[in-house]
Amino acid sequence: MEGLELTAFQIISAVGTARSCYIEAIQSSKNGDFAGAERLIIEGDTAFNSGHTVHAALLQKEAQASELVLNLLIVHAEDQLMSAEGFKIIALEFIDLYKKIFI
């Protein structure tokens, strides 16, 4: 596997992991484990950043090329990226909320 398909999977895998971390952070704080939640947010951010780097490189590549490269898999990857980004905001809000309940 190479090229655009591989790039899409690198993004899906990284930001998908990030999204899972953010949701697991909510689950941890639900159980009162705020240290665990914090660890998962950091783990999520690391995964998200690696996906973001791949995506940014793709944008640069497109800006340099005259031809537009796009397929459904890349659209799916960007969708996952947006979802992960949204889930981080929601996770942080939920952690705050659970802190109010537990502490």
């Binding site: 596997m1 398909e5 591989l6 999977f9 690198q10 899906i12 895998s13 990284a14 930001v15 998908g16 992991t17 999204r19 899972s20 971390c21 949701i23 697991e24 689950q27 995964a47 898999l73 799916h76 996952q80």
Partner: protein, 100 residues
């Protein structure tokens, strides 16, 4: 024949990984029944599976799937393997766990 079930959000990206795994299984002469399904169909799709694998994007459902299928081995797919679509490596990892 051992049955391997992959689950992700829609069954879209894991569907491509399944194709890679099937090719690798064919080359190595492993007799596996490999399929991909959306996680919403976990209960029906994985009823008689030997191992259930979750994509990184649904890893947070690991606990729920384990509850749903208590007698089946449930694991998440490594982010690096998934990102490289390394069907062969994933297949080798599975073989270590459930045999052929």
């Amino acid at each position: 024949m051992k049955k391997i079930v992959l689950l992700c959000a829609a069954g879209m990206s894991t569907g491509m990984l399944v194709k890679k795994m099937q090719t690798a299984a064919h080359e190595k002469n492993y007799e596996y029944d490999i399929s991909a399904h959306p996680i919403s169909e976990a209960k029906q799709a994985a009823a008689d599976a030997d191992i259930i694998l979750l994509g990184p994007q649904v890893r947070f459902s690991l606990g729920k799937v384990k509850e749903l299928c208590p007698e089946i081995l449930v694991e998440s797919i490594d982010m690096q393997i998934y990102g490289c679509m390394d069907g062969e490596k994933l297949l080798d990892n599975i073989k270590e766990k459930i045999g052929v």
